[in-house]
């Protein structure tokens, strides 16, 4: 009976981080993205050309600014141009080489991601998450959601430095905050 209770407790503890929305200080797993980025995306992320899948920790950056989006989400559609602006402003800065942005398409196939990219002429890397693996691991957030993540030394995942769910009122202010909390110089 004690063993069963311990097993249940362990299961609950194991499941809890995946169910709860991320908050600052949480550690998120270093998951594998099982899709080949486009050539310019791989180059921006510092990944080997022609790479077929990769872990977030393989991205050459001191911190990541991740957008969880969906092609289907009206709020993601409405904010696409603002997110483009945020990416363009970030990459124009020297810190843009250290804080890198990418989008993860929750429940989106590669085709759906490509439609979203084309529709809004999106310059940042967009990666499909067709089976919601990353979306679930990142707390089943509402889309769009934005988080700044910093790798934990030793490949032990990513620490959440900033989390924002929903449309952001001022994307430039959010970028400034992302740069500040990530500590990139």
């Amino acid at each position: 009976m004690k063993r069963l209770a311990a097993a249940l407790l362990a299961l609950l503890l194991f499941c809890a981080p995946a169910l709860a929305k991320p908050k600052v200080g949480d550690i998120l797993p270093d998951l594998e993205i099982k899709t080949a980025p486009l050539a310019p995306e791989a180059a921006y992320l510092g990944l080997a050309p022609g790479i077929k899948s990769f872990r977030l920790s393989q991205i050459k950056a001191e911190a990541l600014l991740v957008e969880i989006f969906s092609m289907y989400c009206p709020r993601c559609q409405a904010s696409a141009k603002s997110v483009n602006g945020m990416f363009n402003n970030l990459t124009a800065l020297p810190q843009g080489q250290k804080l890198k942005m990418l989008g993860i398409g929750a429940g989106n196939s590669a085709y759906e991601v490509s439609v979203f990219r084309k529709q809004y002429d999106i310059p940042l890397p967009l990666l499909p998450d067709g089976d919601y693996t990353l979306h679930k691991a990142f707390g089943t957030v509402l889309t769009p959601a934005y988080m700044v993540l910093k790798p934990v030394p030793g490949g032990k995942g990513f620490q959440v430095l900033l989390f924002q769910e929903g449309i952001i009122a001022d994307y430039q202010a959010f970028l400034d905050q992302a740069l500040r909390v990530s500590g990139v110089q």
Binding site: S109, E112, V115
Partner: protein
């Protein structure tokens, strides 16, 4: 005289009250669609048996649209390919994303000479409110409410709960069904699959 003064003071106070009380601003009154969503949780993926198959003529129907018009499937014969998009219910999580996605992908459907007919068993007032919340859609939204789910039943897409499946039926310009599938109700059908099937009609 005292009564008159008291009356005047009361009248001024009553008139001034709306100015003193906090009046909700339009933005405070606005409710985001995501806050209006009812989440039924995970459901049995498919709960009906298709009664139509590729190669047969699509059963005709006429349903009222949120615009007030009646839309008849056979009106599109010889003019457009038709994508019947059955969705289970208004104001539920997956459905509330699916059609806004098709709204964004309008050009892809039009390039393939396809018109979507969105169908739900919801009644007209609910569908109207839902379509408004989605800021309008470019395709007709049809109510299969009464007789309840008659078109969904005709196609074998009415679930035992009374909602329809999340299904896609693709009909060519001759009125022949070329693709019919009830997808997992808990997930959106991949737009790539729909476009791939439409490409086969070209």
């Amino acid at each position: 005289m005292r009564k008159l003064r008291a009356f005047a003071i009361m009248a001024v106070l009553l008139l001034a009250a709306p100015l003193a009380l906090p009046v909700p601003t339009p933005s405070a009154l606005a409710i985001d669609l995501k806050d209006m969503i009812y989440d039924p949780g995970q459901l049995k993926p498919v709960d009906s048996t298709l009664k139509v198959r590729p190669g047969q003529m699509a059963p005709d129907f006429a349903l009222p649209s949120t615009t007030g018009a009646t839309v008849r499937l056979s009106d599109y014969r010889g003019k457009k390919n038709v994508v019947l998009s059955f969705v289970p219910a208004a104001f539920t999580p997956v459905c509330s994303d699916q059609w806004p996605g098709y709204k964004m992908a309008r050009e892809l459907f039009e390039e393939r000479e396809a018109m979507i007919l969105g169908i739900s068993v919801d009644n007209m007032p609910s569908l109207h409110a839902w379509a408004v919340e989605m800021h309008g859609l470019w395709f007709p939204v049809l109510s299969d409410f009464y007789p309840h789910g008659a078109v969904a039943r005709k196609y074998g897409l009415l679930r035992t709960s009374g909602t329809s499946e999340r299904a896609i039926v693709i009909i060519d310009k001759k009125g022949v069904i070329r693709f019919a599938k009830a997808f997992d109700i808990n997930r959106r059908p991949d737009l790539g699959v729909i476009m791939g099937e439409l490409d086969k009609l070209q």
